[in-house]
Every structure is written in structure tokens, then in C-alpha cells.
Amino acid sequence: MTALANHPANRDSAKTMNRYDIAKRMVGLLHRDEAVIGGIGYTNFDLWAASDSPHGRRPQNFYMLGSMGLAVPIALGVAIAQPHRKVFALEGDGSVLMQLGSLSTVAARAPKNLCIVIMDNGAYQITGGQLTATAHGADIVGIAQASGLAQSAWAADEDAFVELAGLALTEDGPWLIGCRIDNEKPKDTTERDPARIRDGFMRGLGSGQAGGRGSA
């Protein structure tokens, strides 16, 4: 908690950053096979783009293809199943607004290994840029704090984001980091083969195919 004293930014004062750049910085901090759950839309697409490298794409990412709003619940489930692995949920403002109750569930379960990152551009950008409630004053970090997630903060800028994500990687959670982002188009789009996505993710987590097809 004391660590957050250095992060007093609010939504209005936080710098508007770039979604891909933030995703790239986050992935760049992950050196211990941390799990990342990407919600739908451009948040998901830029996670996909940011997770490619000359050595291949990191296998510990899960990409939703629908089920809007479930990135946080899915990440909570992974965090419960694998308490020694750090788990990140990457979600947009429109998506998290659809499932605000999940923030209070995370607070009640208090998983030490979970960090929620919200990419907030105040718009349903993929459907044409219609405004979300955050554009009218709803504050996701404030909602998270009021839901019981005391360790929630806005990233004032890129350096602050890296510092907050670093805290989430080293200190007990749950954490929530709010990022104000711009409306730039994503760098790529995810693949759309759900069986492949699930299988790759489970292998990346070391839980692939237990009891499933191929074992009988």
C-alpha cells in the first residue's frame, strides 16, 4: 500500500499512452512464464502483436474470441489453479464495465498472484468509437478501490506503468493498474482457432491435455 503513495495520478492527470506500447512494455517485464489473459477487441489484438518475438510467440497468453467481460474471471480462475504463477488480466474499459462485479469477487478472494491491467480509451473503439461511461466520468480505478481492491492505481505515464507492473510482479496482490490509452489501431489481429489457443495456453501453463483427448 505504501508503495502506491508514489502513484497519486487520477484519470484526468494520467498521460494518454499507446496501447501497443504498453502491451509491449508489459510483456517485456515477463520473465517467469507469467500467464496473461487478453479480453476481446483491440486490447487482445495488441497483446497478440506485442507477444511475438524472433523466438516465437509467448505460449502463456490466452486470447478470448467472445465472452466479453470475462478476462478478469478467467484470470482469477488461473490464479486460483496455479497460486505460484503470476497472472495478468488485460481488459478494456468497455469490457470491464460489463462485469464490474468481478472486481469485488477478486477483492473477496484476494489472490496474491493476480494483476488486472485496464486499457481505458473511453470508447468501444472496435465497433466505431462509441463512448463508454469512462468518457463521462466513471473511474475504473476508483470503482476498483471501492470494490475492495486497495492496491489500484492509475499509471501516470509509461515509467509509472513499468514501476506498477514491477510491483505486481514482486509484491503480493491483487493489483489493478489503470492505463489511459489513445485510439490508435492495433498492430495485428489474433488467430481465430479456439482449440489451438486453448491447447497452446494449457501447454504454456504445464497443464496441457491432462485427462483430455489423446490421453484415453
Partner: protein
Amino acid sequence: MAVAWYEIVRDVLKRHDVSLVTYVPDNVLRPLIEAIHADPFFTAFACTREEEALGIGAGAYMGGLRGILLMQTSGFATLPNVLASLSVPFGIPTLMMVSERGTLGEFNIGQQLVARTMRPVLDALNIESHTMTRLDEAEFILDRALVQAFATMAPCCFILSPLLTGGKIFAK
């Protein structure tokens, strides 16, 4: 000594290593929820919505932990989108147990109507479902259906009929 339906459910879940129980509560499910909370084998907690409970179970499964979702009939009606976009296409064996409202003495017209949507949704999504009516069949149905759900990586829904549970009694 007679064994209650909820004791059978609890014991079969344990046998199949289904330890995560996420639920939106219901009066009919109450003895099962209490039996599960009383057993340290289980991790059990209430969620704010059935979709959320399903998402947590899906994440847990991919992390190597088996779970089941408990809800009432009206709660199931909030799930078609996530079943169609997460559980079914990704091959996640989402287990659901629904206490059946809307039949055999229903007193709430909303429950009566929403209950009519449940089986058509399950059939449309090609999800295996079993309506459980008899105590002497409960263990066999649960045991075999859990084997199948995990082996074929397919969701399965258990509908608990008032014939099994007694249902919810109309009280003025």
C-alpha cells in the same frame, strides 16, 4: 441410513477431483452448498453473476483445476453467449448444475417462462444435459457424465428436478 442427493453429488465430485465450486446461490441448492463449504476438499465461493462463475471455472480448468458451476434456472438463461463463445468452441468442459424452477408447482410466472428456454439452449449448442429425477440414478448419471465431459472436453449440464430435490414449495 439413507443418503441425500446432495451427499451423492458432493462425493462424486470428490471422486472426480472436481474441487472448485463457483455459484450464484439458490434455496434448493442450499444443502449442497453447505455440504461443500463444510468439506475442506473444496474451494467454494459465491460469484456476482453466472457468467463470472463460468469464466472462473474456465480459467481454473486451463490451469489444471476442475470445477463446477451451481445456479438456478433463471441464472442459466444468462449463459448462452459465454457457452457459445468460450466453453464450446475452446473445448472447455464446463460443468453446470441447475436447480430446476418453473415446473411442478412453480408460483413465479417469470421462473415458469425462463425455464422454457433452458433445454432448447442446451440442445441448440449441442451440450449434453441430464435431468436428474431419482435418487437411485444420481450416482450413475453423475459419475458417467463427469467421465465423458473430461474425456471429450465438452460442457455438461445437470438439471436437478423437484422430483429429486423436493423443489421450492409455494408458501403464501
